[in-house]
């Protein structure tokens, strides 16, 4: 017995030792070491000098990482993707290939995962590509990777990514905010979409969802908007770009890319043509802007936009509240603007608006911006299915004045209401009118009511 016990103790001690050795061996042979070894062999291949060759082959294995404090991440991708910044690796096999077209996005400043997704901290293939449990941010496929541009470039146009602009436009015009909150503004019928791109990084799911909401989310209250494939993709891009992560000042300074297209948009929006002309086309109150970028330095022009009176005491030009990149964009547009541009801008201008028109127009914009159009339709036609609500759908607003006074409608918008039921014992209809008083000011609500009243169509009294 005693002898047996001593032998057992000895055997178990050996086993413990073996287990430690096994654990150490496991820890000492990660796959990234093999990748580094292969990479150094690839490097050494074309090396004529034997000494350099030996030195390359003898490079000790080490983890490479980018510490990106402004992005709150650490990316170790280049531990295996060693050739990313080496142009001679242009034709190398993956994972060693050179990354072309990075432009200003140098890896040491941006890392990899901010665009590509994946798990920057990981040092094994599956973990790093984020294709593991409990990592919500897997590698984005090539089709969707450009959506990541919108994580920094949150406004204006992004070159080569029209999907983002289109997605953002659809979001603001199709009434998504009626049900969804984004950055604190919007309804509460659907989920808050602030940070949606960080929570649900599943492009396939998103895209199918936009085509037919009920196909991927059974019982979804979201109406089918009958988006085209392109529109669904654009919205998917936009959703993927919505992350609420905090970014350092360096990254948030490029919210806008100061391109000429965005400058043109600002030029129209701010109605510059009302005072200025380009090559003689336009108003003559202010100076001709053709060639203005050649006549003055960029700093001078920038100052002029921030504080015109500082440059020209007594100038009648208003100080526009534009951010630095918006000013750059405007100047980028002016550097290319010609008389034809001015002609085009003038030809699209509509007649001057009366104060009443302005109020109604503001109401129309609020109606779109806060998402009322999502359910009530861009033409107030209603018709979005809402099972077991009276009539089975969201009501049209074209005849509200028949049933309600303006004050009653204002109260309805302020306080919201549950729709009257078709069948009192049936299920609660998925859609309801939210209370808007916390989101909209009284002024906004009155303007929306004004807009509704401007659109009323009188029912023929004796229709039946």
């Amino acid at each position: 017995m005693e002898r047996r016990l001593q032998q057992t103790f000895f055997a178990l001690s050996l086993l413990a030792l073996a287990l430690i050795v096994a654990a150490a061996w496991q820890a000492n042979t990660p796959s990234w070491k093999t990748y580094q070894h292969n990479y150094h062999q690839l490097e050494a291949q074309g090396e004529p000098n034997a000494i350099t060759k030996a030195a390359v082959l003898a490079t000790p294995p080490e983890i490479h990482q980018f510490m990106l404090t402004g992005l709150q991440r650490v990316d170790r991708c280049t531990t295996c993707h060693l050739g990313v910044e080496d142009p001679t690796m242009k034709n190398a096999p993956e994972p060693f290939r050179y990354h072309a077209n990075l432009g200003p996005h140098i890896p040491s400043k941006f890392g990899c995962t901010i665009c590509h997704g994946g798990q920057g901290l990981a040092t094994d293939v599956n973990g790093a590509h984020g294709k593991v449990d409990f990592w919500p941010n897997p590698l984005l496929s090539k089709d969707y990777i450009r959506a990541s541009c919108g994580r920094c470039h949150k406004e204006g146009e992004v070159p080569d990514v029209p999907e983002l602009t289109e997605g953002r436009h659809l979001f603001e015009t199709q009434g998504c905010r009626g049900c969804h909150k984004l950055n604190g503004v919007g309804g509460s019928i659907g989920p808050d979409l602030t940070g949606e791109g960080a929570n649900r990084r599943a492009p396939d799911w998103l895209e199918r969802h936009f085509l037919t909401p009920s196909a991927v989310s059974t019982g979804s209250a979201m109406p089918n908007f009958h988006f085209t494939k392109e529109q669904a993709r654009a919205l998917t891009y936009y959703m993927l770009s919505l992350t609420s992560e905090e970014m350092g000042s360096y990254y948030s300074s490029v919210r806008l890319i100061p391109g000429p297209e965005y400058g043109r948009q600002l030029f129209v929006e701010k109605n510059c043509i009302a005072c200025h002309n380009i090559g003689g086309v336009g108003a003559k109150t202010g100076p001709d802007l053709a060639g203005v970028t050649k006549a003055h330095s960029a700093e001078w022009l920038d100052e002029q936009l921030v504080n015109p009176e500082l440059v020209y005491p007594g100038s009648s030009m208003p100080a526009y509240d534009l951010e630095a990149n918006a000013r750059k964009a405007l100047l980028a547009f002016l550097s290319t603007a010609t008389a034809e541009d001015a002609q085009l801008i003038l030809s699209r201008k509509t007649r001057a608006l009366t104060p009443e028109d302005v109020a109604i127009e503001a109401g129309r914009q609020d109606f779109a911006r806060f998402g009322c159009v999502g359910c009530h339709g861009t033409e107030l036609q209603g018709g979005v299915p809402n099972p077991n609500a009276q009539g089975g759908e969201v009501p049209s607003l074209l005849h509200v004045s028949d049933d309600y006074t303006k004050d009653e409608v204002i109260a309805l918008i302020r306080n919201g209401r549950a729709p009257p039921l078709d069948d009192a014992k049936g299920p609660t209809p998925p859609l309801y009118m939210p209370a808007w008083k916390t989101v909209l000011s009284d002024e906004d609500i009155h303007r929306i009511a004004d807009y509704l009243w401007s659109k009323q169509q009188k029912k023929a009294k004796d229709a039946w």
């Binding site: 005693e2 016990l5 001593q6 057992t8 103790f9 178990l12 001690s13 086993l15 413990a16 287990l19 430690i20 096994a22 654990a23 150490a24 496991q26 820890a27 000492n28 983890i63 709150q72 650490v74 170790r76 798990q119 901290l121 990981a122 040092t123 094994d124 973990g127 449990d133 409990f134 990592w135 919500p136 929570n199 989310s217 059974t218």
Partner: protein
């Protein structure tokens, strides 16, 4: 050569181990070993008496202390660095996953073993006089183990940790009057956040381990002073041997009297305390039943140690400790579950917050503490204490059933879902 022998002798300061004197001195003169007696009863070493569960629990605690200290080197107790440190342990630190695995599995193992040890002590009736208070200390050690495990659960700062602690600390807040206060004091706020992480860290690495060590010392000391382990129940039928030396327990023989014959004799302190001359303390029959601790007891303990260590190592080599997404207070998993050993509680809470969250656990702890004082039956024989055994078994089974139901049979919305049914859309 003589110098080396001299150095060695200066360290051990004992006779060779081939002699009985040497074997005794090995135990007597060594601060770590002298918690053992020089000689132990053969029956105390029997596996089927104690299953060595107390030892295994203690060895798991040693593993936890060792791996825990190494883990502290790599850990910063603030969000979100805490989570990143977990990832670094997984991906960058040499043998990091193995280390973390050992800590995790040893922690779970300790909760299990401390409970099993308690069951063993109950079923063998070993909490009875004079060991009543050592049982009470044992219950405190169980609570400390749960506390250590619970505070450690939060430290990885992932979704699992965050929501388990949120749920766990909510259960605590159902206590009337003090509940909310207690929770706020523990978390340093109303929700689990940065303050909670630092507090849990301090509790986990300093306060609770210190308390654990102090209570363990008392626990072991009392076992030793009570003459080692209790008698195995199969020996209870045998004629009662000469009274054991039970220092501190009331002597069953008359105290020493200074008689005429002994007036010239001087007594040692031991003799005064035990109430009888030292040479009489062990009867010849008893002497036959004992063996030297070295090597008989030590080799058994060493085997138990190695089984524990290799078992935990093997677990850690093949199973990594879980790590979910970074803690996200805005994203509640459905269902959010407490650590498994509190799932019985959570199950009770799901039926009644007040009864299940406060009354039942409080009664359980009070009942456990009071067992040695309620159970007045002096007999340790199972046939004499059927009621006690039935009641305790019921307590164990109810706890196990509740934990199993909470762990495997509860799905989204705490609905009853058997583990073999896959809930579609549950994860979405």
């Amino acid at each position: 050569m003589n110098l080396f022998r001299e150095i060695w002798q200066s360290i051990v300061r004992r006779d060779p181990l081939s002699t009985d004197k040497g074997k005794s001195e090995l135990v007597f003169l060594n601060v770590w070993l002298h918690i053992h007696p020089a000689k132990v009863k053969k029956e105390h070493m029997k596996f089927r008496h104690s299953f060595y569960l107390g030892f295994v629990t203690f060895f798991l605690f040693l593993i936890l202390v060792t791996t825990g200290i190494v883990l502290m080197v790599y850990y910063r107790p603030f969000p979100p660095q805490a989570y990143q440190d977990m990832k670094d342990l997984e991906f960058v630190v040499f043998m990091g996953p193995f280390l973390r695995g050992m800590h995790r599995w040893a922690a779970h193992g300790m909760v299990v073993c401390v409970f099993l040890h308690m069951c063993r002590v109950f079923y063998t009736g070993s909490y009875k006089k004079p060991r009543q208070f050592n049982w009470v200390i044992g219950v405190f050690l169980l609570l400390l183990t749960l506390g250590l495990s619970f505070t450690g659960y939060l430290l990885p700062w992932d979704q699992l940790a965050y929501w388990a602690i949120t749920v766990g600390s909510n259960i605590g807040s159902y206590a009337p009057l003090v509940g909310g206060q207690l929770r706020e004091w523990l978390l340093g706020g109303h929700t689990v956040g940065e303050a909670a992480l630092v507090r849990f860290y301090v509790l986990h690495v300093a306060v609770l381990p210190a308390a654990m060590i102090l209570f363990t010392i008392v626990h072991f000391w009392r076992v030793r002073k009570d003459g080692g382990l209790s008698r195995p129940i199969w020996k209870l039928a045998a004629p009662k041997p000469a009274p054991l030396v039970t220092i501190g327990a009331p002597a069953e023989v008359a105290p020493l009297k200074a008689s005429a014959a002994s007036s010239t004799k001087t007594y040692g302190l031991m003799e005064v305390v035990t109430g009888k001359p030292i040479f009489e303390t062990i009867s010849p029959e008893e002497e036959e039943d004992t063996v030297f601790s070295y090597p008989y007891a030590f080799v058994r303990e060493a085997v138990a140690l190695m089984i524990t260590v290799t078992g935990i190592m093997m677990m850690s080599l093949f199973f990594h400790a879980p790590l979910e997404e970074l803690a996200n207070p805005a994203k509640t998993p459905n269902p959010a579950k407490a650590p498994w050993y509190f799932l019985g509680l959570q199950e009770l809470v799901s039926h009644s917050a007040m009864l299940g969250g406060v009354v039942a656990p409080a009664l359980m702890v009070i009942a456990l503490l009071a067992i040695p004082y309620i159970d007045r039956n002096p007999s340790r024989r199972p046939s004499d204490r059927k009621w006690a055994i039935w009641l305790f078994t019921l307590f164990v089974v109810i706890n196990l059933v509740l934990i199993v139901v909470g762990t495997f049979f509860r799905g989204p919305g705490w609905a009853l879902v058997p583990p073999w049914v896959h809930v579609v859309g549950g994860a979405e």
